[in-house]
Each structure stands twice: as C-alpha cells, then as structure tokens.
C-alpha cells in the first residue's frame, strides 16, 4: 500500500463519490466548518425562546445534523468500505437496545406490583427544597388525599399499614386503624406531629419513616397528624 493516507475500499457504488471526494480542497472543509458554527449558534439561540418543541429540535435535532456533517465530510465515513458503517451501526443499535430494555424500569417509579418509594420520596423532597413541592394553602389541603398518595405507598391509602411497599419494610409501618396502636400512651399529638415533620429517628422510631417537614408547611403537617389520629377507631 502506498503512503497515501486515504484509500477507498472497493465498494463499487461509490466510485463517483470517491472521485468527487478526492477533489475536496481546504475551502470545502472551511465551508463545512462555517456551516457547523452557524448550526452551533442556532442550537444555542433556539432554546432561548423557551418553547419546548423548539428547544428539542434546535438542541438535539441540530446535534444529529452536526454529527452527520462531521461523519461525512471530516471522517469521510461515506467512502470507507461499507462494512465499517455496518459495524458502527451495530454498536449504535446495541446502545439503543440497552436504552429501551432498561428505560421502562429506570424511568417508571411505579408498576403493577411495585413502587420505587425511595425514588418517589427523593423527587418529592428535592422538589420541595426547590420550592415547588406539594405545599399550597392549608385551607384547600386535602389531608386524606395527600396521605393516600404520599404516605400510602408505605402506610396504605387507608393507613392500615398495608401499602405496596410495606412488606419490604422492617419495621413494618403500623396499622393506624388498630386501637392497640393508640393504646401506647407515648403516641401523643406532639409525638405524631414530630414523627411526620422530623422523621422516625427524631422520636425514637426507625429512619425508614422519612421527614416531611421540607415538603409541607406547619398547617399542612398539623392536618396530616390530625388525619392520622382520626384513623383511631376510639377517637370519635
């Protein structure tokens, strides 16, 4: 083989292409570079309109176009023997296979028979820290509804300790509808409120009971505590 840095594999259909490529001068590459820079500018400016569709198209659509230009005109992928493109495509296909096989599990935090409580809590807490959590006015705060969605995965929507994740927890969350739970005189209103606001460890309970003080304001915590207490059959 000669020292010629470029060799065109014997793929027949591409002879014309190869010829054309051989004539590419530096100006041609500079032109591609200018196009790439224009695309870069668009991909930065487009998303500034803050319209989601435009963001997706300008940011990711243009990334694909830029990658294509670099592959074709800088890497000369189109004049390599065909099989090079094939095995690169196979590698790409494996990546997509990985994505679509794993994504359903990673991206869903709830399935038919399971709930990823840790992820849900993590998101709720992080959003609350960022100031757009479930917190609203206590006036229209639906304690029973919030309990069912936020606490339900562990405690069960009705507080009977039969949430989807309950079986996996040790200690298991108690049954709030069982009078025996309330017979323990240490379970005062203050105690219940502390557990919900500051988490289990703050009141001598397990850390599996997370703190919700960041997610709800004082009035809402109070409403949640009252709701839990209302489950006591002897409360009425």
């Amino acid at each position: 083989m000669s020292d010629h840095a470029h060799s065109h594999g014997g793929s027949e259909g591409h002879e014309g292409h190869g010829e054309e490529h051989a004539h590419h001068g530096p100006e041609h590459y500079v032109r591609i570079w200018v196009i790439l820079l224009v695309l870069l500018a668009i991909s930065v400016l487009g998303p500034m309109l803050e319209i989601q569709v435009i963001t997706l198209v300008t940011a990711f659509g243009i990334a694909v176009v830029k990658a294509f230009l670099v592959c074709k005109y800088f890497m000369h992928l189109d004049v390599q023997p065909k099989y090079v493109l094939y095995f690169l495509t196979v590698a790409l296909a494996f990546m997509l296979l990985f994505f679509f096989a794993v994504a359903p599990d990673v991206m869903n935090h709830e399935g038919q028979n399971w709930t990823n409580v840790a992820a849900q809590e993590h998101i709720a807490r992080a959003l609350a820290e960022q100031g757009h959590g479930a917190a609203g006015e206590a006036g229209d705060f639906d304690a029973a509804g919030v309990f069912a969605t936020t606490c339900g995965p562990c405690h069960g929507a009705g507080g009977a300790g039969d949430g989807a994740a309950a079986a996996a927890l040790n200690p298991r969350p108690a049954n709030f509808t069982d009078p025996a739970f309330w017979a323990d005189s240490s379970r005062t209103h203050e105690h219940i409120l502390t557990v919900i606001r500051d988490g289990g460890p703050a009141a001598g309970r397990s850390p599996l009971m997370a703190a919700f003080g960041a997610q709800f304001d004082e009035a809402q915590l109070e409403a949640l505590a009252r709701f839990v207490e209302s489950l006591n059959p002897n409360a009425q």
């Binding site: 820079l37 990711f60 590698a91």
Partner: protein, 190 residues
Amino acid sequence: MMKPVATTRSAAGISTGMLAVWWLLASEIVIFGGLLASYIMHRLAHPEWAEYASHTNTWIGTLNTFVLLSSSLSAVLAHHAAEKGDGKKAAKYLLVTIGGALTFLVVKSIEWSIEIHHGYTITANGFWAFYYVAAGIHASHVIVGAIVMGWVAWYANQNRELQRVEMVGVYWHFVDIVWIFLFPLLYIAK
C-alpha cells in the same frame, strides 16, 4: 526498515491500522452511548434535575464547542495535507489541533473550579455525578488525543508515517462528535 503490519497490510479494503481505529470507535460508541443513555433516562424521570442543570454555564459550553469544532477543521486540513504528501504542513495543522485540545482543557478546568467552588461537586446529586463523569471521560479522551497527535506530528514533520494523520484525525472527529451530544444534554436542555 520493517514497517508495522498495521500500515502495510490491507486485507479488508482499508489499512489494518485504519480498521483498528474504526473498531476502537465502535467500542467507544458503546461506552459513551451507554453513559448518555443512562443520563437521559434519569434526566427524564427526575423532574428536579432541571433545576440542577440550570446551573451549568451555557456560554462556557458554547465556547468549548466552538474550540472543538475548529480543532476538527484543523485535523481534517492536516489529513488533506498528508494526502498531498506534505508532512510538514500536516504536522503544523496537527499542532493547531493540539492547541485546540489544550484550550478546551484549560476552559474546562476553569469551569470546573468555579462549579466546585459553588458546591456543585460530583457528590452533590445525581445530575452533577453524571456531569463530571461524562465530561471527565470525554476530557480524558481529549488528553489522550492531544498526546497521540503530538507523536504523529513528530513523525509527519519528517514526512514519515503520513497515513497516521488520518487515523488520529478520525479519532479526533469522534471525540468532537461526543461533545456535540454532551453539549445540548448538559448545557442546553434546562
């Protein structure tokens, strides 16, 4: 002098060395692809990441994209000069490309210093963990590329082993392409 098999043998339509570079890139696709795919899954499933991502600096990212795109231009111009048999010119263009790599790394380290200073460390949360791992693995490719280009330029300057100019160039364009995808993922989608 005996020439290495990689440059003299061509059982597959292209030189064995070039073929090896393509194979390397195929494996790189799986490495970066897997990483980016994992990032996208978490980014979509974690609404709170949008806020974390808003702290990356779009302008620094844009500057570095510009630097890498330009260094790809000088890499392909080096290849063009090598094709014409002009080793000296190819070496010069490779040096320009190395300059791009170094600029990229300097900008990156300034950027990271500022971020770490603000408390956005690799352990801050999932987003920043991905940010440093993905950009870090990419930066290590930039470092390796710069070193190999220096070595290829050394030979090219003596008009030797000019076929290597294309090989290292193709690798460099790939590193550029990875950044083309990292850029919108880490800097633009907010």
